[in-house]
């Protein structure tokens, strides 16, 4: 995950923990990529029994999860234009 130590930093001098080292972040990301690749290709070995045809598309759950989440976040971001008001909106 990206790490922006300069942003909003009003605390004591930076004392990055193990989790905040760029090396760790890279490590976590790579672990995630490898795990994703692993479960994606494991799809060959999954014995699917469900009644819906769409489930049998190779990598359906992976693709659906990824596309669904990207869609969710981008749609929510657009919703902000419509819904977002100042924090004290109801107090004014």
């Amino acid at each position: 995950m990206p790490d922006n130590p300069d942003k909003h930093h009003d605390g004591p001098p930076s004392d990055p923990s193990w989790f905040e080292r760029p090396g760790t972040v890279r490590l976590i990301l790579w672990a995630l990529y490898i795990a994703c690749a692993g479960v994606f290709f494991a799809d060959i070995a999954i014995p699917k029994h469900g009644p819906f045809a769409i489930e049998y598309i190779f990598g359906f759950y992976a693709i659906y999860g990824f596309v669904g989440c990207v869609g969710l976040v981008l749609a929510a971001k657009e919703l902000r234009r419509l819904l977002m008001r100042p924090e004290d909106y109801y107090d004014r």
């Binding site: 799809d43 699917k48 989440c69």
Partner: protein, 573 residues
């Protein structure tokens, strides 16, 4: 007879000791009461007990069956964990009202008739509002008022429904009330059934009836939110499972509930409000289960309520600990807290993994039942939405909550770890989340129906991991590319806008209009009166024709003229 006592009454009556007890004993009482009640519950036989005749009806104050048992048990467990979490709270108001609140929820679950249900239903409303007011801010007071109006309103609607129902069916038994299917003739469904469904729907936070939840829960005290998260909404799920099982109208309602709150959760800044939105989303899964109504689905709804109460309490506990130590749970102001609160971080991640239904955590073994039931009954679109909502809940509760609170950019905030009692409560909840996830057999044994279900098949585990890991990948990609929306200080409009802003504006406008109308009318009336006065004045004032004084000489002259005229007339006769 103690043997036929509703376990909820143990908490309600026992809580009356709290105000008179010294501070150190108050905590003990709050811990002991749920234990006594649970001991009493597990020793109760199945069946209807505590029957009181009333005006030709029968009040069944204690009904123990497998559906009420599992809900009663988890409510008492939640009360015990929340009591540990709240041990540091001084004073008696929160301690007493929270016990009574838990007690009334337990009481409602074991109510065998609708009148007893109504009584406990209203007590949950009246006692729980104090957990919001105890925050002692003006905004919490206003929120509490809105919450109380809606909660008591739900009770009033319930009462109206119950009276009509009793009149029509000559029974107040709380059994299946209606089965409203999508293809049935809705006009044939009695109004009483709709009213009772509406009342349950308000407490279950159905779409558009939901916003009291996101409004109120984040405004309650640190421990108050933990209490609130457990009882009211799950009581409504129980009531729906009891009264409306198999009403497939609930399937699209539940599916909507799983999906739309997660959009709000993504952009919400107050992390306890994010959790309130995801609570709403989890309720959706249970409502779908109730709507499908098969034995597997109802068992899934009960199992999911059981697990959900624990992990949702755990998540609210962890965010409560942050609020307690840092003074805020705004995502925009937090970050890097894993350095100050490592244990809270670990417990929060366990709660997050459970709500996300990671294999080996509790959410996985309960949510699978509902999703499998939807597949089995051929609800294709519902199944797709539930999958999307599962991915989404991982995204906002599983990743966003721990990430923005404990990691992300270092906010520079340094604080103490949470107090010991909070850590202990979180540890118990976390242990239960993992325990149920690893060994779901014990939970499956107490479900309302005997279901043989294997959560840990290769198919379930791998497809779930595909869904979740690729959701995580989506988060990572969006963060790396800077597309992820930053946490911003904001208020997001939701259905409460209709009464907090639109309703308020309409009322204010009506008030202004009626005031202006009154002013206009009174001005016109004043003008009319003064015009009349002016006209009268014109002829009758001292100087005018009819008002002025006349000289007596003139009078004598005219009298003489008249008499003369008479004389002339008489003369000619």
């Amino acid at each position: 007879m103690i043997g036929e006592l509703n376990p909820g009454l143990i908490l309600i009556v026992g809580a009356l000791l709290i105000p008179v007890a010294p501070q150190f004993l108050r905590g003990v009482i709050t811990l002991v009461l749920p234990i006594i009640a649970a001991y009493h519950l597990v020793n109760l036989p199945l069946g209807n007990m505590g029957i009181i005749p009333l005006f030709g009806y029968e009040l069944v104050t204690l009904r123990v069956d497998r559906l009420s048992f599992i809900f009663g048990l988890i409510f008492l467990l939640a009360a015990f964990m929340a009591a540990i979490y709240a041990l540091h709270v001084k004073g008696w108001v929160e301690a007493m009202t929270s016990q009574m609140y838990a007690g009334s929820a337990v009481g409602a679950v074991f109510a065998g008739d609708l009148v007893t249900l109504f009584v406990f239903w209203e007590i949950t409303a009246i006692t729980s509002v104090f957990l919001i007011w105890a925050r002692r801010t003006e905004s919490a007071f206003n929120t509490g008022m809105r919450y109380l109006v809606i909660q008591v309103g739900s009770g009033v609607i319930l009462l109206a429904g119950v009276m009509l129902h009793a009149h029509a069916t000559d029974s107040i038994a709380f059994d299946q009330i209606g089965k409203i299917t999508l293809d049935s003739d809705w006009s044939a469904v009695p109004i009483a059934t709709w009213l009772i469904l509406l009342s349950f729907g308000i407490k279950a936070a159905f779409p558009l009836l939901h916003n009291w939840l996101q409004d109120a829960y984040p405004e309650a005290t640190v421990s108050g939110t933990v209490w609130l998260s457990a009882f009211t909404t799950k009581l409504a799920i129980y009531a729906l499972a009891r009264g409306f099982a198999g009403s497939d109208l609930l399937v699209p309602i539940g599916a909507t509930m799983t999906a739309f709150p997660i959009f709000y959760a993504v952009i919400e800044n107050d992390l306890r409000r994010v959790l309130a939105y995801s609570l709403n989303n989890q309720l959706g899964f249970m409502v779908v289960g109730v709507g499908i109504g098969t034995e597997l689905a109802i068992s899934g709804a009960a199992a999911h309520a059981f697990c959900h109460i624990i992990y949702k309490a755990l998540l609210f506990m962890s965010m409560g600990a942050v609020l307690y130590r840092v003074g805020t749970v705004k995502g925009s102001e937090l970050g890097g807290l894993h350095k100050s609160m490592p244990w809270t971080t670990v417990f929060c991640i366990i709660g997050a993994a459970s709500i996300s239904a990671f294999p080996l955590f509790s959410g996985f073994v309960s949510k699978s039942l509902i999703i499998s039931a939807a597949m089995k009954e051929g609800y294709f679109w519902t199944w797709l939405i539930l999958l999307f909502a599962s991915a989404g809940v991982f995204h906002h509760s599983g990743i966003k909550i721990p990430y923005f609170a404990f990691f992300a950019h270092d906010s520079g905030k340094r604080c103490q770890e949470a107090p010991f009692n909070m850590l202990l409560a979180m540890a118990i909840a976390a242990a239960l989340c993992i325990g149920i996830g690893v060994a779901p057999g014990m939970l499956y044994d107490i479900l309302p129906y005997d279901v043989t279900y294997h959560a840990y098949t290769t198919e379930h585990v791998l497809t779930q991991l595909q869904l979740l890991l690729f959701s995580a990948l989506a988060f990572a990609v969006l963060m790396q590319t800077g597309l992820y929306p930053p946490e911003l200080k904001s208020t997001n409009l939701d259905s409460d806008w209709f009464y907090r802003r639109l309703g308020y504006n309409i009322a204010a406008t009506l008030l202004l209009m009626s005031r202006e109308t009154w002013r206009g009318l009174s001005r016109a009336a004043t003008a009319a009166v003064s015009r009349l006065e002016r006209n009268i004045n014109r002829s009758h004032n001292p100087e005018s024709v009819l008002g002025r004084t006349w000289p007596t000489g003139l009078m004598a002259f005219w009298a003489t003229v008249m008499l003369g005229a008479y004389l002339v007339l008489l003369y000619f006769r």
